[in-house]
C-alpha cells in the first residue's frame, strides 16, 4: 500500500511494538505529529528535548526495551545530544528520531538546520540520514535491531521533512541484513571450561560484575554461579541490582566510593572474574595496582573492551547470561569432586571478608538535630523495602543511594554512570514510570541537578505520573564542594546553592504535592505519607550541608588507598 512517509514512520513504530515516545514537536515533524494525533502510540510531551532523551533512557533501563524519543530539527535535535551521549556511555538501547530540513535545503544553513548526523556520529552506536521515503522501513527496522542487540546503544535516525510528506509503498521488512554487523557471539567451550577450573581452583576469587549483567538479564545466573563456586561479588555503579545488596557473598560497590571491603577484597584477590564491565578509571583507580595479584578473566560481549585498559589472562567473548549458563554445569561437576580442604579454603576467604565487613563497614554519624543524607537513603530503603525503582542524579546523593539502598533486583537502579549527567535522574524516573506504571518510582536527586531538568514537573503533573521526587537538599553542589574541601583547602568556589527556590512550594505551583522536611524526627513519617500519595510528590529534604561521601579513593590513587570517614559514634550499615 502506498502511504506518506509520516504514516510509514508510525506504522514502523507499531511493528516494533513501541508503546510510548517522548518528544517535542516542531516545524519539520508536524506531519508526524499529525499522524500521532490518532495513532495508538502514547506520546509524552516533555518540556525539554534533553529530558525526552533521558526519559526514553529511563524507560529502556527500567524495562529492557528500546526507548524512543522524537525531536524537531536544529535546536530540537541538538538539545537531545546530552541524553544521547548519556545513553551511549551506559550502553542503553535508544532509537532517537529527528526531523530535518527538506533534502534540497540540507547544507544550506537553512532555518533550524543542524548537521545532527555529523554531531552525533561519535556518540551513537550508529546513525542514519534517510534519503528516500521508501528507505524508511528498512532504516527503522535496522535502527531497532542495532540499538537492542550485541552491546546496546543509541541509534539516531534523521528524516528530512520532504521524505515525510512524499509517498512510497509500505512493507515492513521481516529481517535485517547487515553484512558488517554480527552481534551474536558464541563463547568458546574450552575457555568456559578453563574459566570454571580457574574459579574453583582460586584461593581468593572475586566476581566484579557490571552493567552487562543487567543488560543480558543474567542476575539470576550470577547468583547461582556465585553460590555454586562460593565467590564474593562486587558490582560497579552500573551493576547495582545485578546482585542483591544483602547477601552473605555481597561486597556492595567497588571503586572510588566503593566499600572498603570490596576494594580490599579486589586488592587481595588471586582471581578476578570480571563480567560485563569495562575497567573504568572510577573503578580501577591506579591501573597498575588494580587487582595486581589476580589472574583476570574477562567476560565481555564487546571485543573492543577486552585488553583495553587491563591485560587479561582469559578473555571470554560472549553474552554474560549465556556464559554463566554454560559455566554452571562445569561448576556443579567440579564442586562435587572438590576435596574437603577446598571448602576450608573457601570458608577462610569468606571469613576474612566477613571480618573486613565488620571492621570497615559503611557508616555515618547519625544526628538528632539535622538529617544525615545517609539516614535519608536508609529511610527510603526501609519505606520501599528495596522494591522501588530508584532513579538518581549525579553527585553525593547518587553515591549515598548506591551505598545505602538495599537493592534486590535488576533494573531498579537507574544512574547516569559513565557520563555522570546532572539532570538525568528526574526525567529518567518519568520514563521508568511510563514503563512500569504499577511500580513505585523514586527519583533521588540533588538540589543542583534537579534544577537542570525540574521543568519536567509540568510533565508529571500533566500525566499524573506518581513519581516521587526526593531532593537531597544540602544547599551545595555537594560533590564539587567535597573535592574543594579535600583537594583545594576548603575554598568553596561557585558551589553555594543556598538561594535555591523553596522546592515544596515550587511543586505546588505545578499542582504537585510538596513537602519540606528539616527535622530527623519527622523524616520517616513524612516519607511514609508522601509515598502513599497516588500522584506525583516532591519531598524537599534538608540534610547536613557538609557531609562527605566516604570511603573515597583519591583520583589517580590505588584503590588500596582509601580515605575513610572519621566518625564519633558511627551508625553502621547492616548487611543482614
Amino acid at each position: 500500500m502506498s502511504m506518506k512517509g509520516a504514516r510509514i514512520f508510525v506504522e514502523c513504530l507499531l511493528r516494533e511494538n513501541v508503546e510510548v515516545i517522548f518528544g517535542i514537536p516542531g516545524g519539520v515533524v508536524l506531519s508526524i505529529y499529525d499522524e500521532l494525533y490518532d495513532a495508538p502510540i502514547k506520546h509524552v510531551l516533555m518540556r525539554h528535548e534533553q529530558a525526552a532523551a533521558h526519559a526514553a533512557d529511563g524507560y529502556a533501563r527500567a524495562s529492557g526495551k528500546v526507548g524512543v524519543c522524537l525531536a524537531t530539527s536544529g535546536p530540537g535535535a541538538t538539545n537531545l545530544v546530552t541524553g544521547i551521549v548519556t545513553a551511549h556511555m551506559d550502553s542503553v538501547p535508544l532509537v532517537v528520531f529527528t526531523g530535518n530540513v527538506p533534502t534540497h535545503l540540507i547544507g544550506n544553513d537553512a532555518f533550524q538546520e543542524a548537521d545532527i548526523v555529523g554531531i552525533t556520529r561519535p556518540c551513537t552506536k550508529h546513525n542514519y540520514l534517510v534519503r528516500r521515503t521508501e528507505d524508511l522501513p528498512r532504516v527503522i527496522k535496522e535502527a531497532f535491531y542495532i540499538a537492542s542487540t550485541g552491546r546496546p546503544g543509541p541509534v539516531l535516525v534523521d528524516m528530512p521533512k520532504d521524505l515525510l510528506l512524499s509517498e512510497a509503498e509500505f512493507s515492513y521488512p521481516e529481517t535485517v541484513s547487515l553484512r558488517g554487523y554480527r552481534p551474536v557471539v558464541e563463547a568458546d567451550r574450552r575457555q568456559i571450561e578453563a574459566a570454571a577450573r580457574a574459579l574453583m581452583e582460586a584461593k581468593r576469587p572475586v566476581v566484579y560484575a557490571g552493567g552487562g549483567v543487567i543488560t543480558s538479564g543474567a542476575s539470576a545466573e550470577l547468583l547461582e554461579v556465585a553460590e555454586l563456586a562460593e565467590i564474593p561479588v562486587t558490582t560497579t555503579l552500573m551493576g547495582i541490582g545485578g546482585f542483591p545488596t544483602v547477601h552473605r557473598l555481597s561486597l556492595g560497590m567497588l571503586g572510588m566510593h566503593g566499600t572498603w571491603y570490596a576494594n580490599t577484597a579486589i586488592s587481595h584477590a588471586d582471581l578476578l572474574f570480571a563480567i560485563g564491565v569495562r575497567f573504568d578509571d572510577r573503578v580501577t583507580g591506579k591501573l597498575e595496582e588494580f587487582a595486581a595479584e589476580a589472574k583476570k578473566i574477562h567476560v565481555e560481549i564487546d571485543p573492543s573492551e577486552i585488553n583495553k585498559n587491563v591485560p587479561v589472562d582469559l578473555p571470554i567473548l560472549g553474552d554474560a547470561k549465556a556464559v554463566l549458563q554454560q559455566l554452571k554445569p562445569y561448576l556443579i561437576e567440579m564442586r562435587a569432586k572438590m576435596p574437603p580442604e577446598w571448602h576450608d579454603e573457601r570458608r577462610a576467604w569468606i571469613t576474612q571478608i566477613e571480618r573486613w565487613k565488620r571492621e570497615h563497614p559503611l557508616c555515618y554519624d547519625d544526628d538528632e538535630e539535622v538529617i544525615k543524607p545517609q539516614r535519608l537513603i536508609e529511610e527510603i530503603s526501609r519505606a520501599t523495602r528495596g522494591d522501588a525503582i530508584i532513579s538518581v542524579d549525579v553527585g553525593q546523593h547518587q553515591m549515598w543511594a548506591a551505598q545505602f539502598y538495599r537493592f534486590k533486583r535488576p533494573r531498579t537502579w537507574l544512574s547516569s554512570s559513565g557520563l555522570g549527567t546532572m539532570g538525568f535522574g528526574f526525567p529518567a524516573a518519568i520514563g521508568a514510570q511510563m514503563a512500569r506504571p504499577d511500580q513505585l518510582v523514586v527519583a533521588i536527586v540533588g538540589d543542583g541537578g534537579f534544577q537542570m531538568t525540574m521543568q519536567e514537573l509540568a510533565t508529571v503533573a500533566e500525566h499524573r505520573l506518581p513519581v516521587k521526587v526526593v531532593i537531597v537538599n544540602n544547599a551545595y553542589l555537594g560533590m564539587v564542594r567535597q573535592w574543594q574541601q579535600i583537594f583545594f583547602n576548603g575554598r568553596y568556589s561557585a558551589v553555594d546553592l543556598s538561594l535555591s527556590p523553596d522546592f515544596a512550594r515550587l511543586a505546588e505551583a505545578f499542582g504537585i504535592v510538596g513537602y519540606r522536611v528539616t527535622r530527623p524526627a519527622a523524616l520517616a513519617d513524612t516519607i511514609e505519607e508522601a509515598f502513599s500519595i497516588p500522584g506525583p510528590v516532591v519531598l524537599d529534604v534538608h540534610v547536613a550541608p557538609e557531609e562527605n561521601v566516604y570511603p573515597m579513593v583519591p583520583p589517580g590513587a590505588s584503590i588500596k588507598e582509601m580515605i575513610e570517614g572519621q566518625y564519633k559514634s558511627p551508625k553502621t550499615f547492616q548487611l543482614t
Binding site: I146, R179, G180, S304
Partner: protein
C-alpha cells in the same frame, strides 16, 4: 612505526567520516588514506597508513571492526603484503635540462604524462620508499607540485583477510 591497515567498507555516505573521526577524536594523524570502490560497487576498499603503537592500533582495529558499515579490517603490516603508491610530480624544466631530467625519470620507470612549454608531469608507481626516493631525486630541480595517492595494499597469495559472503565476512 608505520602500519598499513586494510578495510572493506560499505560504499556509502558518512562511512569515511566515521572512520576518520575515530582517529581525530584521539588526536591521531592518518599518514595516508586511499579509498575507492571494488569490483563490487557496493563495497569500498580502504588502505590506511598510520604511525601508532601496535597496542593502540590493535584497539583501533577492534573499534573499526565494530562499526556497522565496516565489514572487515586487517593490519597488513607484519604479514606478507604488497604495497603500491602512485605519484604525479610536476617539475619546471629549462630547455637545457630536458634530456637530463628525462633520463633521471627513466631510472624510476616514470612516465611523462604531460609536456608543457616549461614543465613535465611524471607518473611513477612503487612502494612508499621508492616514491620518496623519486621525489628526492627532483629536489635539485624546481618541483612545482606533488600529488600522491597514498598507499594501496594487499596481502600476498590467496590469504585475503576480506572474504565476503552475502551475509557477512567469513574468516
Amino acid at each position: 612505526m608505520n602500519q598499513t591497515l586494510s578495510l572493506l567498507v560499505e560504499n556509502k555516505s558518512g562511512v569515511l567520516a566515521r572512520i576518520a573521526g575515530l582517529f581525530s577524536a584521539r588526536g591521531y594523524n592518518i599518514e595516508s588514506l586511499s579509498v575507492a570502490k571494488t569490483d563490487d560497487p557496493t563495497l569500498s576498499h580502504i588502505t590506511m597508513v598510520v604511525d601508532l603503537e601496535p597496542r593502540i592500533v590493535e584497539h583501533l582495529l577492534k573499534l573499526l571492526d565494530k562499526m556497522i558499515d565496516v565489514i572487515s579490517v586487517a593490519n597488513l603490516s607484519g604479514g606478507k603484503m604488497v604495497e603500491r603508491e602512485l605519484v604525479l610530480l610536476k617539475v619546471r624544466v629549462d630547455p637545457a635540462q630536458r634530456m637530463e631530467i628525462l633520463k633521471e625519470a627513466e631510472l624510476f620507470r616514470a612516465r611523462v604524462i604531460d609536456v608543457g612549454s616549461d614543465s613535465y608531469i611524471f607518473e611513477a608507481t612503487g612502494d612508499t620508499e621508492k616514491i620518496e626516493a623519486f621525489i628526492d631525486l627532483f629536489r635539485k630541480y624546481t618541483i612545482e607540485e606533488v600529488a600522491r595517492t597514498g598507499a594501496v595494499a594487499m596481502s600476498r597469495g590467496l590469504t585475503s583477510p576480506h572474504r565476503v559472503t552475502a551475509t557477512g565476512r567469513s574468516k
